[in-house]
């Protein structure tokens, strides 16, 4: 491990530990303390009847607290230490992969993280629900007190930001910058999103669906190349697939509806 990285890590760790004990305990931390007092059988029982939680972590805390006492600092210190150690371990792991694999790993991890973040926001956060509401019925959303213009502002802004991330990945993969990179992508992207089940009229769709749609489009391209089909026919296959996917989806939903 090189020195600048180690220094950064130590600095981060120091900042994390600085004033670590200052805020008073939160609910979850009270639960940790209680677990430590009651012992292992109680922890296992709670995990079964109350809520699933990381058993190993609570068991570890139960061993840790008798050594250090129940101070705020002591309760929080293992997490801070584990964080720093994990970053170091991740760095070592990444170094082991260095070269071509590391880049792909970064791209995959970034895609995964963004997918999880956006899936969470669209499904669980007020902003995400507002987006669906505006798409379903803008006028009703407005009457329900949703700032429609703000939602539009946010979604277009986020789209622009994601384009920036995509550009980073693209340039990282290909290794060169071209002024016409991305020409024609807009319609391919719409195709992937539509394949993923997003309603073109708005109000319906999911992040995971869009990811699967994009994967499908990528798979088709890759499959056609492997099957030795001329790249020129790629559009035909993609077009037919779009129509089929949507037609099947419409048949399915219409049969469900009266």
């Amino acid at each position: 491990m090189n020195w600048p990285v180690l220094l950064c890590l130590l600095l981060a760790f120091a900042l994390r530990v600085w004033h670590l004990g200052e805020p008073t305990l939160t609910n979850d931390e009270w639960f940790m303390l209680r677990s430590a007092r009651e012992g292992l059988p109680w922890i296992v029982h709670q995990a079964r009847v109350f809520e699933p939680h990381p058993l190993l972590y609570y068991a570890g805390i139960a061993l840790w607290v008798p050594l250090t006492g129940p101070s705020e600092f002591a309760l929080r210190f293992p997490s801070a230490l584990a964080g720093a150690v994990l970053v170091a371990a991740g760095y070592r792991f990444g170094q082991g992969l260095a070269g071509h694999g590391a880049g792909l790993l970064v791209a995959a991890l970034l895609a995964l993280a963004l997918t999880l973040l956006f899936a969470y926001v669209t499904a669980r956060r007020p902003l995400g629900r507002h987006i669906y509401a505006v798409g379903g019925n803008a006028e009703a959303a407005r009457l329900a007190g949703i700032d429609v213009a703000r939602v539009a502002f946010v979604v277009y802004g986020v789209t622009g930001m994601l384009v920036g991330v995509a550009a980073l990945l693209y340039v990282g993969q290909t290794g060169f910058v071209q002024s016409n990179t991305g020409v024609g992508f807009e319609l391919q992207v719409i195709a992937a999103v539509v394949l993923g089940g997003t309603s073109i009229l708005g109000g319906r769709g999911s992040v995971v669906g869009s990811v699967l749609g994009a994967v499908l489009v990528g798979q088709i391209k890759n499959g056609l190349i492997l099957m030795n089909v001329s790249g020129l026919a790629e559009g035909m296959v993609a077009g037919v697939l779009i129509l089929l996917a949507v037609a099947v989806d419409l048949l399915r939903t219409r049969r469900g509806a009266p």
Partner: protein, 327 residues
């Protein structure tokens, strides 16, 4: 006085576009050498014909409402041109007959779009997005990406000839088509039905207007106009390029919207779209003669498009507010 004039101009898009057209023409005439000559003024119209035809088709489609849009016009243009080139080169069909076949093939492609939309009831955006890939890819596969050239010389008169200095395709194709479509929208039952369907589909159904049939015909017409545009462009550039219409679909939609067509349907005129395409043609010609680099031209045209719509709406709203206060 000035305020009233401003209001009158801002209130409707064709007048606004006309004012913009005159202003940009005057600006280029004063600043760019060789722009305001009779030759250049007449000759530049040549370059607006193909995109103008596509934009007219797009206007009809978008007026019909219910999310109607045609993304496949560029690909239909490419494929229709390729059909024509192949008929002439490989089957020895007479070139004018082949031109007729190209127009017909455009209509057939449009009708296929229309069937998917009206019979299978798949949203137009998805159908035409799918056929954008299918038709475009078919054009590439049929030609193996090699443009078909060496068509009979007499065919080039349509795209390269002129009468009284006016390009032939403007006189023989664009103006007649525009007049016919204007008459179709303004003076026929079909035209009234079209606006009815676009304004309120449910009300149109209750008024016994055959909504599906109206939509079927606008998409078919859009394909037919793409076929006509294919013949014109093939004649002008003297070859059938399999990528001739690449990227035209978004331009055509933009011009239709610039011309005052409401993207949600029910509103739009042939005159507005014709003015829209004229403004764009004047702008690109003027910028080109001014020696401005193509990458800046694209940005400038885009800025004018967005600026026009924003300014027009802002002025119209302000004009209305003034009117309310004054009245």
């Amino acid at each position: 006085m000035a305020a009233r004039l401003l209001r009158a101009v801002a209130a409707d898009r064709p007048r606004f576009l006309l004012a913009l057209l005159l202003a940009s023409y005057a600006l280029f005439a004063l600043t760019v050498d060789g722009f305001a000559t009779l030759y250049n003024t007449l000759n530049m119209t040549r370059y607006g014909v193909e995109i103008g035809l596509l934009a007219l088709g797009e206007t009809l489609v978008i007026i019909s409402g219910g999310g109607s849009i045609d993304l496949s016009v560029g690909s239909m243009l490419s494929l229709a041109g390729v059909v024509m080139g192949l008929l002439v080169k490989h089957l020895g069909v007479d070139v004018w007959l082949a031109a007729g076949a190209a127009v017909l093939s455009g209509a057939v492609m449009g009708a296929l779009n229309a069937l998917c939309i009206t019979a299978l009831r798949i949203p137009a955006l998805i159908v035409t997005l799918g056929t954008l890939y299918i038709y475009g890819s078919a054009a590439l596969v049929l030609t193996d990406t090699v443009p078909i050239s060496g068509l009979p010389e007499r065919f080039y008169v349509l795209g390269q000839g002129e009468v009284l200095g006016i390009p032939l395709q403007v006189v023989l194709v664009f103006l007649p088509v525009a007049v016919l479509l204007h008459a179709l929208l303004r003076h026929t039952v079909f035209g009234r039905h079209l606006y009815g369907v676009g304004t309120n589909e449910v009300a149109a159904r209750f008024a016994a207007i055959p909504v599906e049939r109206v939509r079927f015909w606008v998409f078919t017409l859009s394909g037919l106009l793409a076929g006509v545009a294919a013949v014109v462009i093939t004649s002008r550039v003297a070859s059938a390029r399999p990528d001739a219409g690449f990227g035209y679909e978004l331009q055509a939609i933009t011009i239709a919207v610039l011309g005052g067509t409401h993207i949600a349907g029910g509103e739009g005129t042939v005159l507005g779209t014709v003015l829209g395409v004229t403004v764009i043609t004047v702008l690109s010609n003027g910028l080109q003669l001014a020696g401005i680099h193509p990458i800046w031209q694209l940005g400038a045209v885009g800025a004018v498009l967005v600026g026009t719509v924003v300014l027009n709406q802002w002025l119209a709203r302000r004009g209305m507010a003034v009117g309310v206060q004054g009245g």
